[in-house]
C-alpha cells in the first residue's frame, strides 16, 4: 500500500497534486456526469484522451491505471456479451445450438464497447482523483466543507490501518491452518463460503484493537475541541483553478444538453 505522503516527498508530486481538492473534485464530477449522458464512442475517446493528459501531468503511477483496466475487462466482456445477444439489428455472427438460434448483433457490440469505455472513464476518473488528492488534503477539504473532523479523519485512519488488518488476516489464516483448517487449498467457490473461521476472530481482533486505538487517540485529545488547528494549510483555489473548474462544469453541461437534444 503506497504512502501518499512518501509519493509526494520523494519527488513524485506534480503541479496537479497542489491544486485545491474541491477544484479537482468538480472537474472529475463534471467528467463523470458528461460520461453518463451519452453512449457516443467518439466522445468517450476524447474524454479518455483528456484523462490520459491528466494522468501524465499528474504523474499518476501507470500501474494503477493498468490494474483498473485489467479489472474492467471481465466486467465489460460480460456486458458486451449480454448486449450482443439482446440488441436487435444486423448480425455479425449467428449460430444454431440444436434448434435454437443465437444472434450476435453489431449494435450490441458497439453498445458494449461504449459501456466499456464509460466504465473505464468512471474508474480512471475516480482513480485519478484519489491519486491527485492525498488523504490529509482530502480530510482537510472535507472539514472545510463542514464535515465534523472525526468523520473526515476516518478515511486517513482507514488507509493507515489497512495494511495492518491485511497482515492480521494472514496471521489468523496461518493460525487456523495450524488447527487443520486450510482455506487456501480450497477452490475459489468453496473459499468464499469457508471464511467464517477467519471472519469471527478477525472481527473480535478489530474490536479489541479499536479500544486500544481509541484510547490512544483520546489521550492525544482527539475530538476534544471543535476549533482544532492544522499544520497543513490548504491554499485557497486560485483564479485559474476556479476558471478551470467553471470551464469543466460548463463544458459538461453543454455536452449533456447536446446529448439530450440530439
Amino acid at each position: 500500500m503506497a504512502s501518499y505522503a512518501v509519493s509526494v516527498r520523494d519527488g513524485r508530486g506534480s503541479s496537479l497534486t497542489e491544486k485545491h481538492p474541491v477544484t479537482i473534485a468538480i472537474c472529475c464530477l463534471a467528467m463523470i456526469c458528461a460520461a453518463f449522458a451519452t453512449v457516443d464512442i467518439t466522445a468517450y475517446l476524447v474524454m479518455l484522451g483528456m484523462l490520459a493528459v491528466a494522468v501524465l501531468v499528474g504523474k499518476i503511477p501507470k500501474a494503477n491505471i493498468v490494474k483498473i483496466i485489467g479489472l474492467v475487462i471481465p466486467l465489460c466482456f460480460f456486458i458486451t456479451l449480454i448486449q450482443t445477444l439482446s440488441q436487435g439489428g444486423p448480425d455479425i455472427a449467428s449460430y444454431m445450438i440444436g434448434s435454437y438460434a443465437i444472434h450476435f448483433s453489431y449494435a450490441g457490440v458497439v453498445l458494449g464497447a461504449a459501456i466499456t469505455l464509460r466504465v473505464l472513464i468512471l474508474a480512471i476518473t475516480m482513480t485519478t482523483f484519489f491519486a491527485l488528492v492525498s488523504p490529509p488534503r482530502l480530510t482537510r477539504a472535507l472539514y472545510d466543507l463542514g464535515m465534523p473532523f472525526k468523520y473526515a479523519y476516518a478515511f486517513t485512519l482507514a488507509l493507515h490501518f489497512l495494511p495492518l488488518i491485511i497482515n492480521e488476516i494472514s496471521t489468523i489464516n496461518n493460525a487456523q491452518k495450524c488447527r487443520g483448517y486450510d482455506i487456501d487449498r480450497c477452490n475459489f467457490i468453496v473459499k468464499s463460503i469457508k471464511i467464517i473461521p477467519l471472519m469471527i476472530p478477525l472481527i473480535i481482533m478489530c474490536l479489541r484493537r479499536a479500544s486500544s486505538i481509541a484510547l490512544a487517540m483520546d489521550l492525544k485529545a482527539f475530538g476534544s475541541i471543535t476549533n482544532r488547528t492544522f499544520y497543513l494549510e490548504l491554499k485557497p483555489a486560485s483564479v485559474g483553478e476556479k476558471l478551470t473548474a467553471g470551464l469543466f462544469v460548463t463544458g459538461s453541461l453543454l455536452f449533456i444538453i447536446r446529448s439530450i437534444l440530439y
Binding site: A5, P135, K220, A221, Y231
Partner: protein
C-alpha cells in the same frame, strides 16, 4: 512542587467484585522519575493520567491531583496538555501516514497555533533521534522507531508529566535499548516521568524511586537500591545481575550497599577482594 498526588485512591471496574486499587497514596514531585511494578499498574497509570474516571467507567473514590488540580474536574484536553501518555503497542499509537503527521497530530488536537508547530516538531524529533525519518511512511518503521515516534508525538504537546505504560513490551531487545536511551535523555531534561515496566534492572538505572503494588496497595515506595534489598528472594521481580550476584555471594544485611551497575560492582568487589 508536586506533579501528581493520589489521595486514598480506590478504584473498582464495573464488572469486577473487588477493587483493583485499595487506598493508594502517592506524591510525585516535579522532575522525578518513578518506576511502578507489580499488579494493577496500568490501572494506576490510567488514574494518574485522567483516563479514569473520564474514559474508563468504574467506581472511583479518593482524589487524583494533577499539578494541584483535581483530575475529575479537568477536561480531557486540559489533562492531555499536561500529561502525555505512551502505551504498550506502538502500532495502535500511530494514526497517520507518515512520521511528521503523527508528531503534529496531538498538537493539532489541543489547538497549538500552526506557527509554533514547526519548532516543536523539530525539537521532539531531535529528542528521540528521529529527525532523519521525518517524512518516512509509518509502515516502514521498526517497532522501536514507531514507539519513539509515539514518544515524540506526546513530547510535542510539551507536557509537564510523561507516563509510559510498558512502552517496550512489544519490542525486540534493540527496540528496548532505543526507548531506554530516550528515557535517559528525558530524565535529564527535567520532565516528570512515570514508567511502568517489567524490567527492574533497566528501570533502576533511570528511576529515582521504585514502587511495588501488591493486592491493590503500595508495598514499597523506595529508592532502587533499597527496593532490590527488600525484594531479594522474590522470584517475581528480577534484580540487576550485579546486585543479584552480590547478594548471592555476600548475603543480605542492614548495612548492605547494593551495587546497581557493573562499574559499582567492580569497585565494591575490588574493595572486598583487596582485604584478602
Amino acid at each position: 512542587m508536586e506533579a501528581i498526588r493520589l489521595e486514598n485512591l480506590i478504584f473498582k471496574y464495573n464488572r469486577k467484585a473487588e477493587p483493583v486499587l485499595k487506598g493508594i497514596n502517592i506524591t510525585v514531585k516535579q522532575g522525578e522519575c518513578i518506576a511502578i511494578l507489580g499488579d494493577s499498574k496500568t490501572t494506576l497509570c490510567m488514574a494518574m493520567c485522567g483516563v479514569i474516571p473520564h474514559l474508563i467507567p468504574g467506581h472511583m473514590d479518593g482524589k487524583v491531583y494533577i499539578e494541584g488540580r483535581d483530575s475529575a474536574t479537568m477536561g480531557v484536553k486540559d489533562i492531555a496538555a499536561k500529561v502525555g501518555v505512551v502505551l504498550q503497542d506502538p502500532e495502535n499509537q500511530s494514526f497517520n501516514l507518515n512520521v511528521e503527521a503523527d508528531v503534529v497530530f496531538a498538537m493539532e488536537n489541543i489547538g497549538v497555533p500552526p506557527e509554533e508547530m514547526e519548532n516543536r516538531v523539530q525539537e521532539a524529533l531531535e529528542i528521540v533521534r528521529m529527525t532523519p525519518f521525518r517524512y518516512t511512511a509509518s509502515h516502514q518503521l521498526s517497532g522501536g522507531q514507531k514507539q519513539r515516534v509515539a514518544i515524540a508525538s506526546v513530547l510535542a504537546m510539551k507536557p509537564q508529566i510523561l507516563i509510559l505504560d510498558e512502552p517496550t513490551r512489544e519490542l525486540d531487545p534493540m527496540g528496548r535499548e532505543e526507548i531506554f536511551e530516550v528515557l535517559g535523555r528525558l530524565k535529564k531534561s527535567g520532565i516528570t516521568v512515570i514508567i511502568v515496566e517489567n524490567d527492574p534492572p533497566r528501570l533502576a538505572k533511570i528511576a529515582d524511586r521504585m514502587l511495588l503494588i501488591r493486592n491493590g496497595q503500595i508495598k514499597y515506595d523506595v529508592a532502587p537500591r533499597q527496593f532490590f534489598k527488600y525484594l531479594y528472594g522474590d522470584d517475581r521481580i528480577k534484580l540487576p545481575q550485579v546486585a543479584q550476584a552480590y547478594l548471592d555471594i555476600f548475603g543480605l544485611s542492614e548495612q548492605t550497599n547494593l551495587p546497581m551497575s557493573v562499574k559499582e560492582g567492580v569497585e565494591m568487589y575490588g574493595k572486598i577482594l583487596s582485604h584478602y
